[in-house]
Symmetry: C2
Subunit: 159 residues, 2 copies
DNA sequence: GCTTGACCTCAACCATGGTTGAGGCCAGAG
DNA sequence: CTCTGGCCTCAACCATGGTTGAGGTCAAGC
């Protein structure tokens, strides 16, 4: 079984796929969309640096929270491009995501509370109900958050 | 301006669109997907009963929470088919949705808390972190929840 | 009886987030 | 030196949630 040659610090696409639990096709897709990067061997094969595993984990985690790839890409673009991100760099991103999450949780809670009122009055339909009059719910997420949680095949990170 | 003839209890698709803030094309789409129903006039035009406004409001509200049309349809299928749903019928649905919402909020909170830990340790990537090891996050939502909140054009229910 | 606007159907198209398959290259092992 | 597994590209396809446009009908009003 001819296995591709790699140095200690490089991973093939297959290795990243195995270790991250993400399909090769998805990795290609993420690369096309600018979420991850690779170098190429003389034979035109992709090689990923180890921190790609972190990036992929970050991508998946973020998707779980309902964030679009575009938004995730924008977040990742904040990472330093010319050095390997430090734990501190990741911590900054995580902190930003926490804020995101707090906001989303607050929205859901507001919705839930409105819904409770609606249960009381049976009004779930018109003008009275905040739920159905959501001009005050906050900002712009665009389309594309495909799932809130739990995609069909989830086993990110075996190792 | 020839306006379609309607009785007091029937609404044209245009009226439903205006009052619900949902595009006519979306109403057609919902009907194809079985989320709403209409009768037809002799001239083959749709007529909606008034509780369609409630249904549409329910659909939009549910979409805001990230629930797919398929799931919404299944919920609506629980409504009595041969009589107009009562406030109580709607209350039962709303209660079910509240449970849904509670679960989603709990998920997001768990994710957020994991994330906070990750910030502490800078681990956001591998095996250690619950966030990236989500085999325990709960159930099956399938694909398709397109947005968590706030679509681009939100003005449901003017009247 | 013609115009006009609201409505109809059906097919094509858009974006997101991917997967699948065809056809081909590269490299290590026998 | 060939076989084979892993990788490559590119195009097509899938689902969700719709929108857009072409071409045609229906009915109120002048």
């Amino acid at each position: 079984m001819p296995r591709p040659h790699t140095t200690f610090h490089e991973l093939t696409v297959g290795q990243v796929a195995d270790r991250s639990g993400v399909a090769i096709s998805a990795l290609h897709f993420y690369e096309r969309k600018g979420l991850i990067r690779s170098t190429r061997t003389a034979g035109n094969q992709r090689r990923y640096s180890r921190d790609t595993l972190r990036r992929v984990a970050f991508i998946r985690a973020s998707q779980h929270v309902g964030i679009s790839l575009t938004a995730i890409r924008e977040a990742l673009d904040q990472l330093p491009s010319e050095r390997t991100p430090t734990p501190d760099d990741w911590a900054r991103l995580s902190a930003a995501w926490r804020t995101e999450l707090d906001a989303r949780i607050a929205q859901l809670q507001a919705l839930r509370d409105d819904l409770s009122e609606c249960i009381g009055c049976g009004c779930l339909s018109l003008r009275v109900c905040h739920l159905t009059n959501p001009r005050d719910v906050l900002g712009r997420e665009g389309a594309g958050a495909r799932r809130l949680l739990s995609p069909r095949t989830d086993r990110v990170n075996q190792g």
